[in-house]
Amino acid sequence: MTETINGKTILTTPLSQEDISALQAGDVVYINGDIVTGRDDVHIRVTTEGMDLPADIHGKALMHAGPIVTGSDEEGYTVVAIGPTTSMRMEKLEYDFIRRTGVRLIIGKGCMGDRTAEACREFGAVHCVMPAGNAVATALCVEEISSVEWLDLGMAEALWSIRVKGLGPLIVSIDSSGRNLFEEKKAEYTARKEEQLEKLSRLL
């Protein structure tokens, strides 16, 4: 579901094809609802090792994140700090992950590549970046940890299912047409880098 509240675009899971199609690279949104954390090892288990994800994330969101969590199964868990991790590490496996899980929205840090853009176009998903290193502000958007699976992978790599409210800002970096904001930025940066190196070659 998509709403506009006080000029902010707020998405609430589950997300439909229409919710996702309406998003354009560069848009800024916030999210409410169910998301799971999953990074390197979760991707490896689901794609390379062919295991079933022990959570239904069809139409929901995945966050590339490894939180700091306190507590236990008995007393419950609390998120102390959480934030997005480098998404590019998952690039090699993300196409298959999106295909297998039906996830609609991926939250991470920095750019992803062509294969993820292809999956976004083919299966109707988006990749968003969230300003990273803001782990306390972000933790305060987490209402509760609903469950944890694959804790044998360690705290950072485990699959945490969390409920969030107002998580963001999320900047759409790859939209469902496959447009990749960072690829466009990179082209600008590379051109400016070459200009600077040309200048430096005269000075160094």
């Binding site: 934030g83 991790t85 990273a132 782990a135 306390v136 360690g154 705290m155 800002p169 400016r192 200048k199």
Partner: protein
């Protein structure tokens, strides 16, 4: 104080200090981030800076690590040969890391290669990392702490250039990293460059450069000039906070060097994310201390606060 008392006191202070550096950024980094924010014109970049300052405030207020990736703990140590705990220092810092991991809490990040398990307490084979210098005929101990996060460790690179590549080649080597991998490494970054004769000496110097204060300059005028040229050039690329564009790109560029072989220019680059968790604390032989990075740190206060989460 008995030797055992001294050992316990140093372990406690270092555990508190490591926890404190996970929560509070060093004074020089905060100052530089303020400068960059003031010079920023891009509205999206400004809102990212605002979020960063809001997060710093919340981290201090709630006593929680400002970034969930509290890194691998590294120590650069300049230890006087007569410092009373020189023989115990390695064990003390090991125990301090275990204690800080449990009490702050820090995220357990240390994974044993091949056996592929997380040790759970941020120690393990070669962890924490120690980079030592022994200072002859001195009884103090200067410890730099660094929480090396994964995101900004990823773009690190070293290679050995040929003399014909020159300093221009070294500049290209650094700049290529900036416009590729560094977009993901939480800019504005601190850039540490090491120049030396071979790959490992350059790599160690690049980390040493990263542990120098933001805004400091290499004492060699020509090296300082290269720092300035690189800083201006990288800023002109304008990758902005989080790589989404903005008026600047870096907190600064620090260069450290040792001699190069007549036939080589070893060059390495290490990066620090904007949440650059570096600390420096200096002990005298009675374990009185001063910190060069975190004026807000007091041992008693840290103890009273319990350094835990609220």
């Amino acid at each position: 104080m008995t030797l055992e008392d001294k050992k316990n006191r140093l372990t406690d202070i270092m555990a508190s200090f490591i926890g404190y550096t996970a929560v509070h950024l060093p004074d020089d980094v905060v100052l530089k981030l303020k400068e960059l924010r003031e010079a920023e014109n891009d509205p999206a970049a400004l809102s990212i800076y605002d979020m960063m300052f809001e997060n710093m405030r919340l981290a201090s207020e709630l006593g929680r690590p400002s970034c969930q990736d509290t890194g691998l703990v590294q120590f650069r140590i300049e230890c006087g040969s007569r410092f009373p705990l020189i023989h115990q220092l390695k064990d003390i810092l090991h125990d301090a890391v275990v204690k800080a991991t449990a009490e702050t809490p820090l995220r357990p990040n240390a994974v044993e290669p091949f056996d592929e398990f997380n040790t759970g307490d941020n120690t393990g084979t070669g962890a924490p990392a120690f980079f030592w210098d022994i200072i002859p005929d001195d009884d103090s101990c200067r410890i730099c702490t660094y929480l090396a996060g994964g995101g900004c460790s990823l773009p690190g690179q070293a290679m050995v250039l040929m003399p014909g590549d020159g300093y221009e080649g070294a500049a290209r080597f650094v700049m290529e990293r900036i416009t590729s991998y560094c977009l993901n490494a939480c800019p504005p970054l601190l850039v540490g460059v090491g120049i030396a004769g071979s790959i490992e000496t350059a790599a160690l110097l690049s980390k040493q450069a990263l542990l120098r204060p933001v805004g400091s300059h290499n004492p060699n005028e020509k090296a300082a000039e290269m720092e300035k040229l690189l800083e201006d050039s990288i800023n002109a690329v304008g990758i902005g906070p989080q790589g989404l564009g903005g008026s600047s790109s870096v907190l600064g560029v620090n260069i450290e060097y040792s001699v190069r072989h007549t036939a080589t220019i070893g060059v390495a680059v290490s990066f620090g994310c904007w949440t650059h968790r570096r600390g420096q604390i200096v002990f005298d032989s009675d374990l009185n201390f001063v910190t060069g990075t975190h004026t807000g740190f007091t041992y008693e206060k840290a103890e009273a606060k319990g350094a835990g989460t609220k």
